[in-house]
Symmetry: C2
Subunit: 387 residues, 2 copies
């Protein structure tokens, strides 16, 4: 039985995702598809436009068979950690045969060569990297230059586009785990990650979230999502929560937040007073060393109190179709990681899970959802019968 794995945010699930899913299923000859999906907060370090229960249900209604939560600690983190979490869970399940992801340019072979270099990190790689870092380059810049010197200009260019960054990290994690999962890369159809203009019936998730009026965006999502979009919660109170968290966090505690390196704590504490919006704050605090996306993630990590953590993998079920529930039974026999369907029934919960439940609570507080009915201790996975 072939099982396709996907790592996604589905924020929201749109026609591009549907195309990607169907294409990957076809190429993998897959009997079922399982997605590991970010929870209520995304890799951009922002509240998702719909909560994880809704997004996972929509994914199942759009054709995914099983949706597992990518734990907060991996999801709201760098591409490397995001990939580590996603691949770690899919690999841990023991029944996933293929991993499907998107690419922007280049072939799987080209990206694989870069991933090989990063995974093995031979001494020449390390020395070159050290050299560029010593010259004052930021880590991503030094890495890009090292890739360029060792694999050429095209490889360096390929390693920079958003989807490729993730693709390379997925490939790297598969190598690190010495996994037998077969990678499948489907090149993005339609607009790029940052593109605001739709191509045909496909628009980027970012464009759907931000640029479109409520009627127009309906053209770019499958029917189940059309029905759910108007009910998306208002997350405009997020900055108020972030500000209160930054104000309440002492500099010494701030310095312990996962993605915070040297010196940011003073700057953040200072700029929080004069920034009138999240974007203003991100702009004021960002730098070569701290790009905007990292700042956004730091603020979100700070809100959840994420400090250094030990990567632990578990498969928390958010939603499943009938095929998905069969897959779960299968995985329960083969899985090397805990499979969690009801956190109240687990004797020992992984430490990392507390960030998932807290981010559920904070999201509910933010959107005015019921703090009891909608909390992770009460809410049950969506199970679709007859699919």
């Amino acid at each position: 039985m072939n099982v396709l794995g996907i790592i996604a945010e589905y924020n929201p699930f749109h026609n591009g995702h549907l195309y990607h899913l169907e294409e990957c299923v076809k190429r993998a000859g897959a009997d079922a598809a399982v997605a590991v999906m970010s929870g209520n907060f995304t890799q951009r370090g922002e509240p998702a436009m719909m909560d994880k229960w809704t997004r996972s249900r929509l994914a199942v209604q759009c054709g995914v068979d099983l949706v597992l939560e990518l734990p907060f600690a991996f999801a709201v983190n760098s591409a490397e950690h995001f990939a580590k979490g996603g691949v770690g869970i899919l690999s841990g399940l023991g029944c996933v045969t293929h991993l499907g992801f998107g690419g922007e340019q280049g072939t799987l072979e080209e990206l694989d060569a870069i991933a090989e270099l990063l995974a093995k990190a031979p001494s020449e790689y390390q020395q070159t990297l050290k050299e560029f870092l010593g010259n004052g380059d930021s880590y991503p810049k030094a890495r890009e230059k090292t890739v360029e010197r060792m694999l050429g200009k095209r490889a360096a260019e390929l390693s920079l586009s958003p989807n490729n960054i993730l693709a390379i990290e997925y490939l790297k994690q598969l190598k690190t785990l010495d996994s037998s999962i077969i990678p499948i890369m489907v090149n993005r159809k339609g607009p790029g990650y940052f593109d605001q203009r739709p191509v045909g019936k496909i628009a980027s998730a970012m464009a759907i979230r931000r640029q479109m009026d409520k009627q127009r965006r309906m053209d770019y999502v499958p029917p189940p999502v059309k029905a759910a979009l108007p009910k998306a919660g208002d997350t405009s109170g997020y900055f108020q929560l972030v500000r209160s968290a930054v104000l309440r966090c002492r500099e010494a505690e701030l310095a312990k937040i996962f993605s915070v390196g040297e010196g940011l704590e003073h700057k953040l504490k200072k700029q929080i007073r004069t920034s009138g919006s999240l974007e203003e704050l991100v702009e004021a605090v960002s730098s070569k060393r701290y790009p905007k996306a990292r700042i956004r993630r730091i603020l979100c990590q700070l809100l959840m109190g994420l400090t250094a953590f030990e990567p632990v993998f578990y498969a928390r079920v958010l939603a499943a179709g009938e095929k998905g529930t069969r897959l779960l039974r299968e995985a329960k026999k083969k899985s090397g990681i805990p499979i969690i369907t009801n956190i109240n029934k687990e004797a020992h919960l992984p430490d990392l899970l507390s960030y998932d439940t807290l981010s559920g609570d904070i999201y509910n507080l933010l959107t005015g959802h019921d703090l009891y009915e909608q909390c992770d201790q009460v809410k049950r996975p969506y199970i679709e019968v007859g699919k």
Copy 2:
């Protein structure tokens, strides 16, 4: 030179406060009056209706010569700590000769006898107290019964009314410090602490805050307050901040919050999900052991992260008239405690001060005040010239 000290909240300053101030000044033959006033959060564990800078300015405009901040750790705390902070600061100044406070019933001598018993706590007192506690009485109840057994029924009754509770604590602190400050008790004129109905031109602060329409409350406050009342900030977002703080605080951390004793953390974590307002939450969590006022204070302490603290005294200036600035110069020579007019100029700030500045920030966030212009690091004391 006689100097009157007062410990107050002035939330808001009203005609009853004016009467109390004038009466105490007269009876003390005082040349100047200094008030130690709660900051942005009050002993009820709630945001004040106006910020500390406004309330202290109004106090000066209404006749107080110098206003110092009662640090958050004392202000949002039990009557005992509230009194300890206020008397500690007034006594530390070295130039205060009289302490004026209100009483409801009974004479100064009667309350003094109770204070003497509590301050000395002779072995008979301790044994009796232990006996009642052993029988399952709460601490306040056991104390009341002990006072009754040792000083009679009337003393026990006197020790229970809100203003007398504070009066007794002030007297107790003066004894504990072996202070030469002379207590002056002015019996409350007009309505009691909890009374909602005004008497003549005097209404309780609670009635002014809660029960009255905007026009009517003008009858019960002096002219400077009339001008300021309409500008009072909206503090209705307080519950949202409290909820986010409770959700984010792990049970183990919650148990460390100053006024939290055994077992409350589970109850609070549970009830936070089903309570739709602060009052609902307070109602749901309160008990014989945790009366409502204590719950409100706990929530406020939690928001500021107040854990066990070492009582330290300092005189932080919020506002002064001309006489007050002269008094400050005098106090700077005699004071046994730091006098702080600009926190940026202090080499070593008391640890407790961080709760005062944080509660300033949180208050500003809550009311939409500018987080820079209005913060404790930027805002300067109000100095009135020509008064």
